[in-house]
Subunit: 484 residues, 2 copies
């Protein structure tokens, strides 16, 4: 090694001062583009470009040599500019919306601290914090004890539950695999989240062993049919082990009736999992928590936008542990039960508790309750207005904050009995959607469901919403669809 | 609804100005505590507290009412203060270290934009960007085409691979489940990551169907034994389908010999997955990529700290799709092949490509190569110094940037043949570790492995490292352990 190379290697590759300056400048861009302009009703929700044009605008190619700081700052600005503003008050497209500045602060801090939540050694604050948040959520459910874990999304929570339920019924599965087990059967409603099917495929259970239980008009599981499907599965030689109920379905926002489902699970010895990844926030509200009556009888639940799994058995560790000796040394100098990482299936695990904890500290349980109650009140308001306007036809009265409706353009009104009505109606939502995205005025989703042709699903949850936004929404649907 | 309540409901719940002010103040705290003090060698790596004391200091309890902004800012400061400084130049404890300001900017922007990467509609920039990053990485592997996806961690990548390999061998598994398949067999080295066992348990394959292949002293898979284990599995009636090779094992940093493993996989018709979640960065280096010779013959690979899965078949979608109609409408106005979400098992999926893309844009392929080469050079330097110091005994010569060694305190030197030597040596690392954490001077991991008692594993990857940090490391181990 020559002296020059040697000196070169002794200099850190990274200039902290320059790096921090860049981060500070980029923070200003984020503040300006994403948080100021991105939440301003006078600005667009999205800046639509055709894929080829966008690829060119962004100059995505990764090259041999790096770029100057000013060029990189422009890239930050461009990424922000052409991304969808999900914080915008007129973004109604997904089951998330709006910005919470305390939660966002928690997320920035999480990213800056960049740790992995497996041991007390590397994540002391977050091991204790996760425990506090989980136990607080357990008390909302009505449990004095239990176990839980934050998950990277609702799908993973559902997968955890499927694995736990299978493990309780057949502990030998961990060692021997599904191969040594009988054919299993899972039960879930026709309108449950598609991750149940993904989980069944991924975990070796098989999608044809997911029995879809009929729903009523609102999208709630029909318990008579649940009993019948359980008998059907048994008659085919399959062994039922899990009922996957939903509190807040993806499209209609329906709540399965937990009490009668729990009764059936008790009688049949089945694990009741409640997927409340969408609807779980009602537990914060004294007025609305009745929607989840019976929740305390679940064996496991995926709760709220928070994405976590609560389980009332001490199974997480036994079911998931692999005892890596380089992480979970048994000769540590502190209480090794604080090394909670082996409960997870991810091993290295991102910190998910801080954003929720900081938001909760900021607004209190009372503030969270207010948000839930307001979302219901706003939904009620929107529904009332919608019922008074010609051309808006609700798909039932919302149980939650999903408002599902058809917009019937003038040319189709009164033509319900014409033979091509359904076909023509099915083409309305896609055209309105295309127009709104290309103009960037707002975003809302649509889909067909069961026998119903394409209808809109409007989501009313952002804490930024005002009545004006809802009036705008109705006016805008009319403006975009009136000539169809 | 009375007028007062009505007015109240018309006001957005959130004050953007106040929120942005808080975020800006918190950003300053993050800059100061996490990025300035947290990377300063004159400051501690960790601020150890016993769990009970820490819980009290942090006042974790979540209450009915929210707190003032100044209190919340203090909480941000406290969380930073008591968290481990993983960006600190003397954090050698995990397989991650150091801060990259462009990557961190990408992460902040990702969090602020808060989207989910399933459709072009809600994530236009990131759909195109992920595609560019994946195709660039494929060209590093030596592929002209293929498919891929970013994953939330190396464990998930391994799980994806297990599912793809099983699906290729038995496509009926998706529908019917593992129950309808014969007993399967997976092969991996004794020193591969523990997520292989977790995956086998989680995906219904069973941990006893993971055949652990013997390794040589360095930790590399022995291919003779691989062939024998395959025959053993067959003789037990199991059907081999997957060889899980490792490029960069967790403890020793060993690289399995990919060419001969690929030959065996070819002959036996097995899927070769390469878990390069740790060692994959060598592909950036002309000097070191030979460690992964044969990589282009993999069927799938989890590559680098980046955590993604590359797959040379068009299987991702067929294997994982569930066709949710509310997301993947078939009547959209743009090219629906851009809605890549159904390839994933997570459904809602965090954006993972931006941080890597921005860092790559900032330093270029050449800059990434330099980082890899420097880490190797620093490792060589540390090893040379270590060999010259009494009391440091290497566990073989490192293939990668993991430096594994015993520290032999003066009282044990020359006592190798005494009957309690191994027992006494095994107690050295835990005591040194306890002392370093309580004093907060640095962090490094230890573990037993195979027949070897507790030894240290020092990781040399941070771009911030200088020779001084390595000299400090050696001095500090001596200081903490010399009286043992």
């Amino acid at each position: 090694m020559n002296l020059l190379a040697d000196q070169h290697l002794n200099e850190p590759l990274l200039d902290h001062r320059e790096g921090q300056l860049f981060l500070t400048e980029a923070f200003k861009v984020i503040l300006e583009e994403v948080l100021c302009k991105g939440t301003d009703v006078n600005e667009k929700v999205c800046e639509w470009r055709e894929p080829e044009e966008l690829a060119t605008l962004l100059d995505l190619e990764l090259r041999e040599y790096g770029e100057q700081q000013y060029q990189l700052l422009q890239r930050v600005r461009d990424v922000a500019k052409y991304s969808v503003k999900t914080n915008h008050p007129r973004f109604f497209n997904q089951l998330f919306a709006g910005v919470d500045y305390h939660a966002l602060t928690g997320r920035f801090l999480t990213e800056a601290l960049n740790t992995s939540q497996y041991t007390y050694e590397v994540a002391p604050v977050f091991v204790l914090m996760e425990d506090e948040v989980l136990s607080k959520l357990r008390s909302l459910v009505g449990w004095a004890q239990g176990d839980g874990i934050f998950c990277p999304g609702g799908t993973m929570s559902n997968m955890y539950a499927m694995n736990l339920a299978r493990y309780r019924a057949f502990p030998e599965v961990k060692l021997k695999g599904q191969w040594a087990l009988p054919r299993l059967a899972v039960f879930t409603s026709q309108e449950s989240h598609y991750s149940v099917m993904k989980a069944a495929a991924f975990q070796g259970i098989g999608t044809e062993n997911v029995f879809k239980v009929n729903v009523d008009d609102r999208g709630c599981m029909m318990t008579d049919d649940l009993s019948e499907k359980i008998e059907l599965a048994k008659s085919q030689g399959a062994v039922p082990f899990l009922v996957h109920a939903t509190s807040g379905t993806t499209v209609q926002g329906a709540f399965d009736p937990l009490e009668p489902i729990a009764d059936i699970c008790d009688r049949q010895g089945l694990w009741m999992h409640v997927d409340a990844a969408w609807g779980g926030s009602v537990l914060f509200s004294k007025e609305h928590r009745h929607l989840m009556r019976g929740v305390e009888r679940w064996e496991s639940g995926a709760c709220s936008g928070i994405q976590l799994l609560e389980c009332n058995f001490d199974l997480l560790k036994r079911c998931h542990s692999a005892d890596a000796t380089y992480l979970f040394q048994q000769d540590k100098f502190y209480d090794m039960s604080l090394d909670t990482g082996d409960k997870s299936i991810q091993c290295g695990r991102k910190v998910d508790c801080l954003k929720l904890w900081l938001m909760w500290k900021a607004v209190g349980s009372q503030g969270l309750e207010e948000r839930v109650d307001r979302a219901f009140a706003h939904t009620r308001y929107l529904v009332e207005k919608m019922m008074k306007r010609e051309g808006f036809q609700l798909i039932g009265k919302p149980e939650f904050v999903n408002v599902c409706f058809w917009f019937i353009p003038p040319s189709l009104r009164g033509k319900e009995n014409s033979p091509d009505y359904q076909d023509r109606l099915s083409k309305v939502a896609p055209v309105i959607k295309e127009r709104m995205i290309k103009q960037g005025t707002m975003m809302v989703g649509y889909q067909p469901l069961g026998g119903r042709v394409n209808f809109f699903r409007m989501i009313v949850i952002s804490p930024q919403l005002s009545y004006q936004d809802m009036t705008f929404f109705l006016d805008e649907i009319e403006r975009l669809g009136n000539n169809l």
